[in-house]
């Protein structure tokens, strides 16, 4: 792999940037791999990267129905934070924060991680109590989070409307300074380039149509649109389509797939310094480095694989944004889209072995998987390589729905769902 550096940039400037090499190959599948990852989103590519890098498992293929990073990785609102309530979640998401901080250097690829702070607003007495409970729990778990008065919140984010006469006045906010945003595409591309360099085959436009199991029940490989690929181990990282893929191996999942929408405005000059989220009035907003306001809404109420949501959901979000940030009222929205998010009953992910020998699953990230990408790939690679979970993802089994040891983060996402 040619390392990107200032020298390379200068050298390529002389040939008008026409001679940059390709970032990854486009190989045909081999007949057999040690590990096949289903789904080339951020989590799947990160898994392949850490399998190769940390565990020396390089005979790996990542098969992808569409193009890499084209699902929820390319559709989310790029928010990074770790202020979850329970210790299990805080450990998982904080593990990711640790990796985010050095990720650009690690991958030699600018993922544009920007710790600009994530501020979560409280609008009711109940909100205030819940937010403060979160803050205390976080600080005990070693996760950075602090309480701001409305005036301090406005200091941190000047566009915020803290007047007392709006429908849901701001009564305070929880601020995680280490939270922020990252460039979603660059995360997928950086991991793809790194994994490819270590010998991982990324096979795009290759849909999985079946999972073959042997007489002993263990996996033998995947049937794909490019033929059968033999595999000792299979990791399913298929987000909204996890239920359908796991169905091929005869494993039922506690998942439901909902449409989740986001939208961006026309690009403007820097006008918004941080990320602001509000559970109560269902909205979150930040400004991308390109200048667009990136706005996220809640999920639709029904399951769907259509990658579109109802326009009334986005409308509701825009109403909330306009009340909190009145100076955005005349902004025009440029694009709006939907992704399919797989939601578990307790709103915590599943990173787990399965009842099928050699089959592993990483799913259930619901409305907030992007933030966990590096941590998720890191511990899932460990789970596949060692055939046992990493200390951090040990609580996130499928089995918790039988034992009752749920990790109830229903209030942890940006929007109550």
């Amino acid at each position: 792999m040619k390392r990107y550096s200032f020298l390379e940039l200068a050298k390529n400037a002389f040939s008008a940037h026409q001679n940059w090499g390709r970032q990854w190959r486009s190989p045909e599948p081999k007949s057999e791999y040690d590990v096949v990852i289903v789904g080339a989103g951020g989590h799947g590519l990160a898994t392949a990267y850490y399998l190769a890098k940390e565990h020396g498992v390089r005979n790996v293929a990542v098969v992808e129905k569409g193009w890499l990073g084209g699902g929820n990785t390319g559709r989310n609102t790029t928010i990074v934070r770790s202020n979850y309530l329970w210790e299990e979640s805080a450990a998982l998401y904080n593990h990711a924060i640790g990796l985010w901080q050095g990720l650009s250097q690690e991958l030699n690829y600018n993922v544009m991680y920007s710790a600009r702070g994530v501020m979560m607003l409280a609008h009711t007495v109940h909100d205030v109590q819940v937010a403060q409970r979160h803050i205390h729990a976080n600080r005990l778990a070693g996760v950075q989070n602090e309480w701001l008065s409305p005036e301090q919140a406005k200091d941190y984010c000047p566009p915020l409307n803290i007047s007392k006469d709006i429908r849901y006045p701001v009564m305070g906010a929880a601020l995680q300074r280490v939270g922020g945003t990252a460039r979603h595409d660059a995360v997928a591309w950086g991991y793809a380039r790194g994994a490819d360099d270590m010998g991982v085959d990324i096979i795009q436009n290759c849909a999985v149509s079946g999972i073959r199991r042997g007489a002993d029940g263990a996996v033998e490989g995947v049937e794909t649109s490019k033929g059968f690929i033999k595999a000792k181990k299979i990791g399913v990282v298929a987000a909204g389509h996890t239920s359908t893929v796991m169905d091929m191996a005869g494993v039922r999942m506690p998942l439901e797939s909902y449409p989740l929408q986001a939208l961006v405005s026309e690009p403007v000059k820097p006008a918004f310094p941080c990320v602001v989220m509000s559970n109560t009035i269902h909205a979150y907003i930040s400004q991308s480095d390109k200048g667009e306001l990136v706005i996220g809404a809640g999920t639709d109420q029904f399951i769907s694989y259509s990658q579109t949501g109802g326009i009334h959901i986005s409308n509701h979000t825009i109403d909330a944004i306009c009340e909190l940030f009145p100076h955005f009222r005349r902004m025009r929205m440029l694009r709006n889209w939907g992704g399919i998010v797989d939601v578990t009953p307790d709103r915590s992910p599943i990173l787990s072995k399965t009842p099928v020998q050699g089959l592993y699953v990483n799913c259930g990230w619901g409305t907030g998987g992007f933030k966990a990408t590096p941590g998720s790939g890191h511990v899932f690679a460990h789970t596949i390589a060692k055939d046992e979970p990493h200390r951090i993802n040990a609580p996130f089994t499928i089995d918790r729905f039988r034992t009752g040891r749920l990790i109830d983060e229903a209030a942890a996402a940006a929007v109550a769902h």
Binding site: H241, S243, T244, R252, M253, P254, L255, E256, S257, Q301, F302, I303, S304, Y305, S306, T308, G310, I311, H312, D342, P345, F401, R402
Partner: protein, 101 residues
């Protein structure tokens, strides 16, 4: 926004009048004390999450307030049928075939 038909009111109304109640025809174990752990896991948590023709419950929250069932294609979001709670599940393959015509 979906248009939902309430079989009790006999009218089609915008989705915002309704709330979706998730997968239909999931029966609570008849004899709870005899049900195994597996039965409870299936009843409480496991869902078919079907990509395709799917049966779900809806409630006319801002109308008559009653629950009913609907058949919907989760790929296109088209409704194929609505029927009252307690009525048997229609033949899904038949419905899909008709809708395909």
């Amino acid at each position: 926004m979906l248009l939902v038909y309430c079989p009790y009111c006999g009218v089609e109304r915008p989705e915002t009048e309704f709330s979706c109640g998730g997968q239909a025809h999931i029966a609570r174990p008849v004899d709870p004390s005899a049900a195994t752990e597996e039965d409870w896991v299936n009843f409480l948590y496991m869902r078919s999450n079907t990509k395709g023709v799917y049966v779900e419950r809806w409630r006319h929250t801002h109308g008559c307030g009653r629950f009913f069932n609907a058949v919907r294609n989760t790929v296109t979001d088209d409704f194929l049928s609505f029927y009252k709670a307690g009525e048997p599940m229609p033949d899904l393959e038949e419905l899909a075939k008709e809708a395909g015509k």
